[in-house]
Symmetry: C2
Subunit: 299 residues, 2 copies
Protein backbone atom coordinates (compact mmCIF):
# COMPACT_ATOMS: atom_id res chain seq x y z
CA UNK A 1 0.00 0.00 0.00
CA UNK A 2 1.64 3.26 -1.08
CA UNK A 3 1.13 6.08 1.36
CA UNK A 4 -0.79 9.10 0.23
CA UNK A 5 1.27 12.29 0.11
CA UNK A 6 -0.60 15.31 1.41
CA UNK A 7 0.71 18.85 1.39
CA UNK A 8 -1.55 21.64 2.57
CA UNK A 9 -1.08 25.07 1.02
CA UNK A 10 -2.61 28.30 2.34
CA UNK A 11 -1.74 31.26 0.08
CA UNK A 12 -2.85 34.74 1.08
CA UNK A 13 -3.63 37.04 -1.83
CA UNK A 14 -4.05 40.82 -1.72
CA UNK A 15 -7.63 40.94 -2.99
CA UNK A 16 -10.71 40.58 -0.84
CA UNK A 17 -13.16 43.02 -2.42
CA UNK A 18 -13.44 42.30 -6.15
CA UNK A 19 -14.96 38.84 -5.77
CA UNK A 20 -14.97 38.19 -9.53
CA UNK A 21 -11.18 38.55 -9.45
CA UNK A 22 -10.98 36.23 -6.44
CA UNK A 23 -13.05 33.63 -8.32
CA UNK A 24 -10.73 33.77 -11.35
CA UNK A 25 -7.72 33.23 -9.12
CA UNK A 26 -9.35 30.40 -7.14
CA UNK A 27 -10.40 28.82 -10.44
CA UNK A 28 -6.73 28.17 -11.16
CA UNK A 29 -6.68 25.88 -8.11
CA UNK A 30 -9.96 24.23 -9.06
CA UNK A 31 -8.59 23.48 -12.52
CA UNK A 32 -5.33 21.90 -11.36
CA UNK A 33 -5.50 18.14 -11.45
CA UNK A 34 -4.74 16.31 -8.21
CA UNK A 35 -5.49 19.31 -6.02
CA UNK A 36 -8.50 19.65 -3.78
CA UNK A 37 -9.76 23.09 -2.81
CA UNK A 38 -10.84 22.92 0.84
CA UNK A 39 -11.76 26.51 1.60
CA UNK A 40 -11.34 30.16 0.68
CA UNK A 41 -12.50 33.24 2.48
CA UNK A 42 -12.22 36.92 1.65
CA UNK A 43 -12.00 39.74 4.15
CA UNK A 44 -13.20 43.12 2.94
CA UNK A 45 -11.37 45.28 5.50
CA UNK A 46 -8.12 43.44 5.07
CA UNK A 47 -8.77 43.33 1.29
CA UNK A 48 -7.28 39.87 1.41
CA UNK A 49 -8.29 36.28 0.63
CA UNK A 50 -6.98 33.11 2.27
CA UNK A 51 -7.20 30.00 0.09
CA UNK A 52 -6.71 26.44 1.39
CA UNK A 53 -6.03 23.40 -0.75
CA UNK A 54 -4.30 20.05 -0.54
CA UNK A 55 -2.67 17.56 -2.86
CA UNK A 56 0.69 15.92 -3.41
CA UNK A 57 3.74 18.15 -3.60
CA UNK A 58 3.91 18.38 -7.39
CA UNK A 59 0.23 19.24 -7.86
CA UNK A 60 0.27 21.78 -5.00
CA UNK A 61 3.32 23.44 -6.59
CA UNK A 62 1.52 23.60 -9.93
CA UNK A 63 -1.71 25.01 -8.44
CA UNK A 64 0.28 27.60 -6.49
CA UNK A 65 2.15 28.67 -9.59
CA UNK A 66 -1.02 29.05 -11.66
CA UNK A 67 -2.75 30.95 -8.86
CA UNK A 68 0.22 33.30 -8.63
CA UNK A 69 0.29 33.82 -12.40
CA UNK A 70 -3.37 34.80 -12.39
CA UNK A 71 -3.01 37.05 -9.33
CA UNK A 72 -0.02 38.82 -10.90
CA UNK A 73 -2.16 39.41 -13.99
CA UNK A 74 -5.20 40.75 -12.12
CA UNK A 75 -3.95 42.55 -8.99
CA UNK A 76 -2.21 45.93 -9.04
CA UNK A 77 -0.48 46.67 -5.74
CA UNK A 78 -0.21 50.34 -6.71
CA UNK A 79 -3.96 50.52 -6.20
CA UNK A 80 -4.22 48.13 -3.25
CA UNK A 81 -5.46 49.33 0.11
CA UNK A 82 -6.02 47.10 3.10
CA UNK A 83 -5.36 46.80 6.81
CA UNK A 84 -3.34 43.57 6.78
CA UNK A 85 0.46 43.60 6.28
CA UNK A 86 1.35 42.58 2.70
CA UNK A 87 4.09 43.01 0.13
CA UNK A 88 2.60 41.64 -3.09
CA UNK A 89 -0.34 40.45 -5.16
CA UNK A 90 0.31 37.00 -3.74
CA UNK A 91 1.58 37.90 -0.31
CA UNK A 92 2.64 34.58 1.13
CA UNK A 93 2.49 30.91 0.12
CA UNK A 94 3.07 28.48 3.01
CA UNK A 95 3.59 24.76 2.30
CA UNK A 96 2.54 22.53 5.20
CA UNK A 97 3.46 18.82 5.39
CA UNK A 98 0.42 16.80 6.50
CA UNK A 99 1.13 13.22 5.56
CA UNK A 100 3.60 11.08 3.66
CA UNK A 101 6.40 13.60 3.27
CA UNK A 102 9.01 15.33 5.39
CA UNK A 103 9.43 19.00 6.20
CA UNK A 104 12.66 18.86 4.16
CA UNK A 105 10.72 17.78 1.07
CA UNK A 106 8.25 20.61 1.67
CA UNK A 107 11.11 23.09 1.94
CA UNK A 108 12.56 21.83 -1.35
CA UNK A 109 9.16 22.13 -3.00
CA UNK A 110 8.63 25.65 -1.70
CA UNK A 111 12.10 26.71 -2.78
CA UNK A 112 11.56 25.35 -6.29
CA UNK A 113 8.26 27.23 -6.52
CA UNK A 114 9.87 30.51 -5.36
CA UNK A 115 12.51 30.07 -8.05
CA UNK A 116 9.93 29.33 -10.74
CA UNK A 117 7.72 32.31 -9.79
CA UNK A 118 10.71 34.60 -10.12
CA UNK A 119 11.95 32.99 -13.32
CA UNK A 120 8.65 32.90 -15.19
CA UNK A 121 6.71 35.82 -13.68
CA UNK A 122 9.59 38.21 -12.85
CA UNK A 123 8.32 38.67 -9.29
CA UNK A 124 11.13 38.79 -6.68
CA UNK A 125 10.61 36.04 -4.09
CA UNK A 126 11.62 35.52 -0.48
CA UNK A 127 11.91 32.30 1.49
CA UNK A 128 10.52 32.14 5.06
CA UNK A 129 9.77 29.72 7.86
CA UNK A 130 11.56 26.39 7.59
CA UNK A 131 12.58 27.34 4.05
CA UNK A 132 14.35 30.53 5.17
CA UNK A 133 17.99 30.88 4.10
CA UNK A 134 18.70 33.47 6.81
CA UNK A 135 17.65 33.06 10.43
CA UNK A 136 15.95 36.48 10.59
CA UNK A 137 13.72 35.48 7.68
CA UNK A 138 12.22 32.53 9.56
CA UNK A 139 9.76 35.11 10.82
CA UNK A 140 7.42 36.48 8.17
CA UNK A 141 7.21 39.92 9.80
CA UNK A 142 10.90 40.61 9.17
CA UNK A 143 10.37 40.16 5.43
CA UNK A 144 7.13 42.15 5.37
CA UNK A 145 8.53 45.08 7.40
CA UNK A 146 7.22 48.35 5.95
CA UNK A 147 4.71 46.53 3.76
CA UNK A 148 4.55 46.87 -0.04
CA UNK A 149 5.21 50.58 0.14
CA UNK A 150 8.16 50.28 2.51
CA UNK A 151 9.78 47.34 0.77
CA UNK A 152 9.58 49.18 -2.54
CA UNK A 153 11.87 51.83 -1.08
CA UNK A 154 14.26 49.50 0.70
CA UNK A 155 14.53 46.38 -1.48
CA UNK A 156 17.85 47.64 -2.85
CA UNK A 157 19.41 47.47 0.63
CA UNK A 158 21.42 44.27 0.87
CA UNK A 159 19.61 43.02 3.98
CA UNK A 160 16.34 43.17 2.06
CA UNK A 161 17.43 41.58 -1.21
CA UNK A 162 15.09 38.80 -2.34
CA UNK A 163 16.20 35.17 -2.35
CA UNK A 164 15.37 34.92 -6.04
CA UNK A 165 15.49 37.78 -8.55
CA UNK A 166 16.91 41.26 -8.88
CA UNK A 167 16.39 43.65 -5.93
CA UNK A 168 13.53 45.41 -7.63
CA UNK A 169 9.78 45.08 -7.04
CA UNK A 170 7.52 43.80 -9.84
CA UNK A 171 5.79 46.90 -11.22
CA UNK A 172 2.28 45.84 -10.25
CA UNK A 173 2.63 42.60 -8.27
CA UNK A 174 5.31 43.62 -5.75
CA UNK A 175 7.07 40.65 -4.17
CA UNK A 176 6.01 37.24 -2.86
CA UNK A 177 7.07 35.16 0.16
CA UNK A 178 7.13 31.37 -0.18
CA UNK A 179 7.94 29.00 2.62
CA UNK A 180 7.17 25.95 4.70
CA UNK A 181 5.87 25.53 8.20
CA UNK A 182 4.24 22.93 10.40
CA UNK A 183 0.44 22.97 10.64
CA UNK A 184 -0.92 25.11 13.44
CA UNK A 185 -3.09 23.46 16.05
CA UNK A 186 -5.40 25.99 17.71
CA UNK A 187 -6.00 24.51 21.16
CA UNK A 188 -7.82 26.11 24.10
CA UNK A 189 -8.02 24.87 27.67
CA UNK A 190 -10.99 25.99 29.79
CA UNK A 191 -10.45 26.35 33.52
CA UNK A 192 -13.05 26.12 36.28
CA UNK A 193 -12.49 29.56 37.75
CA UNK A 194 -13.60 33.07 36.90
CA UNK A 195 -10.20 34.54 37.83
CA UNK A 196 -8.67 35.62 34.54
CA UNK A 197 -5.30 36.21 36.20
CA UNK A 198 -4.93 32.45 36.62
CA UNK A 199 -5.33 31.91 32.88
CA UNK A 200 -2.86 34.75 32.25
CA UNK A 201 -0.26 33.24 34.57
CA UNK A 202 -0.63 29.75 33.11
CA UNK A 203 -0.48 31.07 29.53
CA UNK A 204 2.80 32.77 30.39
CA UNK A 205 4.13 29.63 32.04
CA UNK A 206 3.51 27.41 29.02
CA UNK A 207 4.32 29.72 26.11
CA UNK A 208 7.74 29.95 24.49
CA UNK A 209 8.11 33.70 24.95
CA UNK A 210 8.23 33.45 28.74
CA UNK A 211 10.29 30.29 29.10
CA UNK A 212 7.56 27.70 28.51
CA UNK A 213 7.26 25.20 25.69
CA UNK A 214 8.85 25.91 22.33
CA UNK A 215 6.34 26.40 19.47
CA UNK A 216 3.59 27.51 21.85
CA UNK A 217 1.93 30.91 21.71
CA UNK A 218 -0.73 31.58 24.33
CA UNK A 219 -2.83 34.11 26.20
CA UNK A 220 -5.45 34.21 28.93
CA UNK A 221 -9.06 34.91 27.94
CA UNK A 222 -12.15 35.47 30.11
CA UNK A 223 -15.21 33.38 29.13
CA UNK A 224 -17.65 35.65 30.87
CA UNK A 225 -20.91 33.89 30.04
CA UNK A 226 -19.54 30.61 31.33
CA UNK A 227 -17.93 32.19 34.38
CA UNK A 228 -14.71 30.49 33.35
CA UNK A 229 -11.36 31.45 31.89
CA UNK A 230 -9.35 30.00 29.04
CA UNK A 231 -5.74 29.47 28.09
CA UNK A 232 -5.98 30.10 24.35
CA UNK A 233 -3.04 28.73 22.36
CA UNK A 234 -1.48 28.08 19.01
CA UNK A 235 0.73 24.99 18.94
CA UNK A 236 3.05 25.62 16.02
CA UNK A 237 4.69 22.20 15.93
CA UNK A 238 2.52 19.41 17.28
CA UNK A 239 5.25 16.84 16.65
CA UNK A 240 7.91 18.44 18.84
CA UNK A 241 5.45 19.93 21.33
CA UNK A 242 2.42 17.62 21.40
CA UNK A 243 -1.05 18.54 22.59
CA UNK A 244 -1.09 16.12 25.52
CA UNK A 245 2.14 17.46 27.02
CA UNK A 246 0.85 21.02 26.96
CA UNK A 247 -2.52 19.94 28.41
CA UNK A 248 -0.99 17.88 31.21
CA UNK A 249 1.32 20.76 32.12
CA UNK A 250 -1.60 23.18 32.26
CA UNK A 251 -3.55 20.67 34.35
CA UNK A 252 -0.67 20.54 36.85
CA UNK A 253 -0.19 24.31 36.91
CA UNK A 254 -3.92 24.88 37.44
CA UNK A 255 -4.00 22.32 40.26
CA UNK A 256 -1.49 24.51 42.11
CA UNK A 257 -4.36 27.01 42.44
CA UNK A 258 -6.94 24.33 43.12
CA UNK A 259 -8.44 24.95 39.68
CA UNK A 260 -9.63 22.07 37.45
CA UNK A 261 -9.53 21.73 33.66
CA UNK A 262 -13.23 21.64 32.73
CA UNK A 263 -12.84 21.18 29.00
CA UNK A 264 -10.74 21.92 25.94
CA UNK A 265 -11.36 23.00 22.36
CA UNK A 266 -9.71 22.31 19.04
CA UNK A 267 -10.47 25.12 16.58
CA UNK A 268 -10.57 24.41 12.85
CA UNK A 269 -8.73 21.61 11.09
CA UNK A 270 -6.30 19.28 12.85
CA UNK A 271 -3.96 16.77 11.24
CA UNK A 272 -5.01 13.23 12.08
CA UNK A 273 -1.55 12.44 13.40
CA UNK A 274 -1.85 15.08 16.14
CA UNK A 275 -4.88 13.20 17.53
CA UNK A 276 -3.42 9.73 17.00
CA UNK A 277 -0.42 10.91 19.05
CA UNK A 278 -2.85 11.85 21.84
CA UNK A 279 -4.55 8.43 21.76
CA UNK A 280 -1.17 6.69 21.59
CA UNK A 281 0.16 8.54 24.64
CA UNK A 282 -2.84 8.19 26.92
CA UNK A 283 -3.38 4.54 25.97
CA UNK A 284 0.36 3.84 26.50
CA UNK A 285 0.35 1.97 23.20
CA UNK A 286 3.31 -0.20 22.21
CA UNK A 287 4.31 -0.50 18.56
CA UNK A 288 1.31 1.38 17.18
CA UNK A 289 1.50 2.46 13.54
CA UNK A 290 -0.91 4.92 11.96
CA UNK A 291 -1.24 2.44 9.12
CA UNK A 292 -3.36 0.38 11.54
CA UNK A 293 -6.09 2.99 11.17
CA UNK A 294 -8.45 1.31 8.76
CA UNK A 295 -9.25 4.50 6.87
CA UNK A 296 -5.54 5.07 6.22
CA UNK A 297 -5.44 1.84 4.25
CA UNK A 298 -7.85 3.25 1.70
CA UNK A 299 -6.56 4.99 -1.39
CA UNK B 1 -18.27 17.97 1.39
CA UNK B 2 -20.12 14.66 1.08
CA UNK B 3 -19.01 12.09 3.58
CA UNK B 4 -17.39 8.93 2.32
CA UNK B 5 -19.37 5.78 3.01
CA UNK B 6 -17.21 2.88 4.11
CA UNK B 7 -18.45 -0.63 4.77
CA UNK B 8 -15.94 -3.32 5.61
CA UNK B 9 -16.73 -6.88 4.59
CA UNK B 10 -14.88 -9.98 5.81
CA UNK B 11 -16.25 -13.14 4.16
CA UNK B 12 -14.90 -16.52 5.20
CA UNK B 13 -14.84 -19.11 2.43
CA UNK B 14 -14.37 -22.87 2.81
CA UNK B 15 -11.22 -23.18 0.71
CA UNK B 16 -7.70 -22.62 2.00
CA UNK B 17 -5.70 -25.24 0.12
CA UNK B 18 -6.34 -24.93 -3.63
CA UNK B 19 -4.83 -21.47 -3.97
CA UNK B 20 -5.75 -21.21 -7.68
CA UNK B 21 -9.39 -21.50 -6.63
CA UNK B 22 -8.87 -18.89 -3.91
CA UNK B 23 -7.36 -16.51 -6.50
CA UNK B 24 -10.34 -16.92 -8.83
CA UNK B 25 -12.73 -16.11 -6.00
CA UNK B 26 -10.69 -13.14 -4.78
CA UNK B 27 -10.50 -11.89 -8.38
CA UNK B 28 -14.25 -11.26 -8.22
CA UNK B 29 -13.57 -8.69 -5.51
CA UNK B 30 -10.64 -7.18 -7.40
CA UNK B 31 -12.83 -6.75 -10.46
CA UNK B 32 -15.71 -5.02 -8.71
CA UNK B 33 -15.62 -1.30 -9.22
CA UNK B 34 -15.57 0.85 -6.09
CA UNK B 35 -14.27 -1.92 -3.87
CA UNK B 36 -10.78 -2.06 -2.43
CA UNK B 37 -9.30 -5.41 -1.46
CA UNK B 38 -7.34 -4.89 1.78
CA UNK B 39 -6.21 -8.39 2.64
CA UNK B 40 -6.82 -12.11 2.23
CA UNK B 41 -5.21 -15.01 4.01
CA UNK B 42 -5.65 -18.75 3.64
CA UNK B 43 -5.23 -21.31 6.40
CA UNK B 44 -4.32 -24.81 5.29
CA UNK B 45 -5.42 -26.67 8.43
CA UNK B 46 -8.71 -24.83 8.63
CA UNK B 47 -8.99 -25.12 4.81
CA UNK B 48 -10.46 -21.65 4.94
CA UNK B 49 -9.72 -18.16 3.57
CA UNK B 50 -10.61 -14.83 5.15
CA UNK B 51 -10.99 -11.96 2.68
CA UNK B 52 -11.17 -8.29 3.69
CA UNK B 53 -12.41 -5.46 1.48
CA UNK B 54 -14.05 -2.07 1.79
CA UNK B 55 -16.24 0.19 -0.29
CA UNK B 56 -19.64 1.80 -0.17
CA UNK B 57 -22.62 -0.39 0.64
CA UNK B 58 -23.72 -1.00 -2.96
CA UNK B 59 -20.27 -1.96 -4.22
CA UNK B 60 -19.57 -4.20 -1.21
CA UNK B 61 -22.90 -5.95 -1.82
CA UNK B 62 -21.98 -6.49 -5.46
CA UNK B 63 -18.47 -7.78 -4.69
CA UNK B 64 -19.88 -10.13 -2.05
CA UNK B 65 -22.45 -11.48 -4.46
CA UNK B 66 -19.89 -12.12 -7.21
CA UNK B 67 -17.51 -13.74 -4.73
CA UNK B 68 -20.30 -16.03 -3.54
CA UNK B 69 -21.30 -16.90 -7.11
CA UNK B 70 -17.74 -17.96 -7.91
CA UNK B 71 -17.30 -19.87 -4.63
CA UNK B 72 -20.57 -21.75 -5.23
CA UNK B 73 -19.26 -22.68 -8.69
CA UNK B 74 -15.83 -23.87 -7.49
CA UNK B 75 -16.24 -25.32 -3.99
CA UNK B 76 -17.92 -28.64 -3.25
CA UNK B 77 -18.78 -29.01 0.42
CA UNK B 78 -19.24 -32.76 -0.09
CA UNK B 79 -15.45 -32.96 -0.48
CA UNK B 80 -14.50 -30.30 2.05
CA UNK B 81 -12.45 -31.14 5.11
CA UNK B 82 -11.18 -28.64 7.64
CA UNK B 83 -10.91 -27.94 11.34
CA UNK B 84 -12.91 -24.71 11.48
CA UNK B 85 -16.72 -24.74 11.92
CA UNK B 86 -18.48 -24.08 8.58
CA UNK B 87 -21.77 -24.73 6.82
CA UNK B 88 -21.13 -23.73 3.24
CA UNK B 89 -18.82 -22.79 0.38
CA UNK B 90 -19.14 -19.21 1.56
CA UNK B 91 -19.52 -19.75 5.26
CA UNK B 92 -20.19 -16.28 6.59
CA UNK B 93 -20.35 -12.72 5.20
CA UNK B 94 -20.24 -10.01 7.89
CA UNK B 95 -20.95 -6.39 6.96
CA UNK B 96 -19.25 -3.88 9.25
CA UNK B 97 -20.11 -0.16 9.30
CA UNK B 98 -16.93 1.91 9.42
CA UNK B 99 -17.88 5.40 8.33
CA UNK B 100 -20.76 7.39 6.91
CA UNK B 101 -23.54 4.87 7.48
CA UNK B 102 -25.52 3.40 10.33
CA UNK B 103 -25.69 -0.17 11.58
CA UNK B 104 -29.32 -0.18 10.42
CA UNK B 105 -28.23 0.54 6.84
CA UNK B 106 -25.65 -2.23 7.09
CA UNK B 107 -28.34 -4.62 8.32
CA UNK B 108 -30.57 -3.70 5.38
CA UNK B 109 -27.68 -4.21 2.96
CA UNK B 110 -26.81 -7.59 4.45
CA UNK B 111 -30.44 -8.69 4.37
CA UNK B 112 -30.79 -7.71 0.71
CA UNK B 113 -27.63 -9.65 -0.13
CA UNK B 114 -28.87 -12.76 1.71
CA UNK B 115 -32.09 -12.56 -0.28
CA UNK B 116 -30.27 -12.14 -3.58
CA UNK B 117 -27.87 -15.04 -2.91
CA UNK B 118 -30.82 -17.30 -2.26
CA UNK B 119 -32.81 -16.00 -5.21
CA UNK B 120 -30.09 -16.18 -7.84
CA UNK B 121 -27.80 -18.95 -6.54
CA UNK B 122 -30.36 -21.18 -4.80
CA UNK B 123 -28.26 -21.31 -1.63
CA UNK B 124 -30.34 -21.11 1.58
CA UNK B 125 -29.21 -18.13 3.68
CA UNK B 126 -29.30 -17.24 7.35
CA UNK B 127 -29.11 -13.82 8.99
CA UNK B 128 -26.89 -13.34 12.08
CA UNK B 129 -25.50 -10.65 14.35
CA UNK B 130 -27.34 -7.34 14.20
CA UNK B 131 -29.19 -8.63 11.13
CA UNK B 132 -30.59 -11.67 12.98
CA UNK B 133 -34.37 -12.06 12.89
CA UNK B 134 -34.36 -14.34 15.95
CA UNK B 135 -32.43 -13.57 19.13
CA UNK B 136 -30.74 -16.99 19.19
CA UNK B 137 -29.31 -16.33 15.74
CA UNK B 138 -27.42 -13.24 16.87
CA UNK B 139 -24.70 -15.70 17.73
CA UNK B 140 -23.07 -17.39 14.74
CA UNK B 141 -22.41 -20.62 16.61
CA UNK B 142 -26.15 -21.33 16.98
CA UNK B 143 -26.57 -21.26 13.22
CA UNK B 144 -23.42 -23.30 12.56
CA UNK B 145 -24.25 -25.98 15.13
CA UNK B 146 -23.30 -29.42 13.76
CA UNK B 147 -21.43 -27.87 10.84
CA UNK B 148 -22.22 -28.59 7.19
CA UNK B 149 -22.78 -32.27 7.87
CA UNK B 150 -25.06 -31.66 10.87
CA UNK B 151 -27.08 -28.88 9.30
CA UNK B 152 -27.68 -31.06 6.25
CA UNK B 153 -29.53 -33.51 8.47
CA UNK B 154 -31.42 -30.96 10.57
CA UNK B 155 -32.26 -28.07 8.22
CA UNK B 156 -35.80 -29.42 7.86
CA UNK B 157 -36.46 -28.87 11.57
CA UNK B 158 -38.35 -25.62 11.98
CA UNK B 159 -35.81 -24.10 14.39
CA UNK B 160 -33.16 -24.51 11.74
CA UNK B 161 -35.04 -23.24 8.70
CA UNK B 162 -33.09 -20.64 6.76
CA UNK B 163 -34.20 -16.98 6.65
CA UNK B 164 -34.34 -17.15 2.85
CA UNK B 165 -35.02 -20.24 0.75
CA UNK B 166 -36.42 -23.69 1.14
CA UNK B 167 -35.19 -25.78 4.11
CA UNK B 168 -32.82 -27.76 1.92
CA UNK B 169 -29.04 -27.45 1.54
CA UNK B 170 -27.57 -26.48 -1.85
CA UNK B 171 -26.19 -29.73 -3.29
CA UNK B 172 -22.56 -28.61 -3.33
CA UNK B 173 -22.46 -25.19 -1.67
CA UNK B 174 -24.41 -25.91 1.54
CA UNK B 175 -25.75 -22.77 3.18
CA UNK B 176 -24.44 -19.27 3.85
CA UNK B 177 -24.74 -16.88 6.79
CA UNK B 178 -24.92 -13.15 6.11
CA UNK B 179 -25.06 -10.48 8.77
CA UNK B 180 -23.81 -7.27 10.26
CA UNK B 181 -21.68 -6.53 13.28
CA UNK B 182 -19.56 -3.75 14.73
CA UNK B 183 -15.83 -3.85 13.99
CA UNK B 184 -13.78 -5.77 16.53
CA UNK B 185 -11.03 -3.94 18.33
CA UNK B 186 -8.35 -6.33 19.56
CA UNK B 187 -6.89 -4.57 22.59
CA UNK B 188 -4.36 -5.93 25.08
CA UNK B 189 -3.25 -4.38 28.35
CA UNK B 190 0.16 -5.35 29.72
CA UNK B 191 0.62 -5.38 33.49
CA UNK B 192 3.84 -4.94 35.45
CA UNK B 193 3.71 -8.23 37.30
CA UNK B 194 4.58 -11.82 36.52
CA UNK B 195 1.55 -13.14 38.41
CA UNK B 196 -0.75 -14.48 35.74
CA UNK B 197 -3.58 -14.89 38.25
CA UNK B 198 -3.86 -11.11 38.43
CA UNK B 199 -4.45 -10.88 34.66
CA UNK B 200 -6.97 -13.74 34.97
CA UNK B 201 -8.90 -12.00 37.74
CA UNK B 202 -8.96 -8.66 35.92
CA UNK B 203 -10.00 -10.29 32.63
CA UNK B 204 -12.94 -11.84 34.46
CA UNK B 205 -13.83 -8.56 36.12
CA UNK B 206 -14.03 -6.62 32.86
CA UNK B 207 -15.54 -9.17 30.49
CA UNK B 208 -19.26 -9.50 29.81
CA UNK B 209 -19.47 -13.18 30.68
CA UNK B 210 -18.60 -12.59 34.34
CA UNK B 211 -20.52 -9.37 34.92
CA UNK B 212 -18.07 -6.89 33.43
CA UNK B 213 -18.54 -4.66 30.41
CA UNK B 214 -20.93 -5.64 27.65
CA UNK B 215 -19.25 -6.40 24.31
CA UNK B 216 -15.96 -7.36 25.97
CA UNK B 217 -14.35 -10.78 25.70
CA UNK B 218 -11.11 -11.26 27.61
CA UNK B 219 -8.57 -13.65 29.09
CA UNK B 220 -5.32 -13.54 31.06
CA UNK B 221 -2.09 -14.39 29.24
CA UNK B 222 1.47 -14.80 30.58
CA UNK B 223 4.13 -12.85 28.64
CA UNK B 224 6.98 -14.99 29.89
CA UNK B 225 9.89 -13.35 28.09
CA UNK B 226 8.88 -9.96 29.40
CA UNK B 227 8.12 -11.23 32.90
CA UNK B 228 4.73 -9.57 32.57
CA UNK B 229 1.12 -10.62 32.14
CA UNK B 230 -1.57 -9.40 29.79
CA UNK B 231 -5.32 -8.90 29.77
CA UNK B 232 -6.04 -9.86 26.15
CA UNK B 233 -9.40 -8.62 24.87
CA UNK B 234 -11.78 -8.25 21.99
CA UNK B 235 -13.95 -5.14 22.23
CA UNK B 236 -16.95 -5.99 20.09
CA UNK B 237 -18.58 -2.56 20.10
CA UNK B 238 -16.15 0.30 20.61
CA UNK B 239 -18.98 2.84 20.46
CA UNK B 240 -20.98 1.48 23.39
CA UNK B 241 -17.95 0.18 25.28
CA UNK B 242 -15.02 2.43 24.39
CA UNK B 243 -11.33 1.57 24.70
CA UNK B 244 -10.58 4.26 27.30
CA UNK B 245 -13.32 3.10 29.69
CA UNK B 246 -12.04 -0.47 29.62
CA UNK B 247 -8.43 0.67 30.04
CA UNK B 248 -9.19 2.98 32.95
CA UNK B 249 -11.18 0.23 34.68
CA UNK B 250 -8.30 -2.20 34.26
CA UNK B 251 -5.89 0.44 35.56
CA UNK B 252 -8.04 0.84 38.67
CA UNK B 253 -8.45 -2.90 39.20
CA UNK B 254 -4.69 -3.48 38.81
CA UNK B 255 -3.91 -0.67 41.28
CA UNK B 256 -5.85 -2.65 43.88
CA UNK B 257 -2.95 -5.17 43.68
CA UNK B 258 -0.32 -2.45 43.45
CA UNK B 259 0.25 -3.42 39.80
CA UNK B 260 0.81 -0.76 37.10
CA UNK B 261 -0.26 -0.76 33.45
CA UNK B 262 3.07 -0.79 31.61
CA UNK B 263 1.73 -0.64 28.07
CA UNK B 264 -1.09 -1.63 25.73
CA UNK B 265 -1.40 -3.04 22.23
CA UNK B 266 -3.87 -2.64 19.40
CA UNK B 267 -3.74 -5.64 17.10
CA UNK B 268 -4.59 -5.27 13.41
CA UNK B 269 -6.85 -2.61 11.95
CA UNK B 270 -8.77 -0.11 14.06
CA UNK B 271 -11.48 2.29 12.88
CA UNK B 272 -10.27 5.88 13.10
CA UNK B 273 -13.30 6.82 15.19
CA UNK B 274 -12.28 4.45 17.99
CA UNK B 275 -9.01 6.39 18.39
CA UNK B 276 -10.59 9.82 17.94
CA UNK B 277 -12.95 8.85 20.79
CA UNK B 278 -9.88 8.15 22.94
CA UNK B 279 -8.28 11.52 22.11
CA UNK B 280 -11.62 13.27 22.66
CA UNK B 281 -12.09 11.73 26.10
CA UNK B 282 -8.62 12.24 27.51
CA UNK B 283 -8.38 15.78 26.12
CA UNK B 284 -11.85 16.57 27.54
CA UNK B 285 -12.74 18.14 24.19
CA UNK B 286 -15.88 20.23 23.81
CA UNK B 287 -17.76 20.23 20.52
CA UNK B 288 -15.21 18.20 18.60
CA UNK B 289 -16.31 16.80 15.22
CA UNK B 290 -14.35 14.17 13.29
CA UNK B 291 -14.80 16.40 10.26
CA UNK B 292 -12.16 18.63 11.86
CA UNK B 293 -9.58 15.98 11.03
CA UNK B 294 -7.93 17.42 7.96
CA UNK B 295 -7.60 14.06 6.21
CA UNK B 296 -11.34 13.47 6.60
CA UNK B 297 -11.99 16.50 4.42
CA UNK B 298 -10.29 14.81 1.49
CA UNK B 299 -12.31 12.81 -0.97
Amino acid sequence: MTQTQIVQCVPNISEGRRLDVVEKIVDQVRQTEGVQLLDYSSDHDHNRTVITYVGNLASVQEASFRLTQEAVRLINMEEHQGAHPRIGAVDVIPFIPIEGLTMKECVEGATALAKRINHELKVPTYLYGEAATKIVRKNLSTIRKGNYEGLKGSIQEEARHPDFGEPKMHETAGATVVGARMPLVAFNVNLGTSKKEIADIIARNVRERNGGFKNVKGMGVALEERGEVQVSMNLEDYQSTPIYRVLETIRREAARYGVPVVGTELIGLVPQQALLDVANWYLQLEGFDSNQVLENRLR
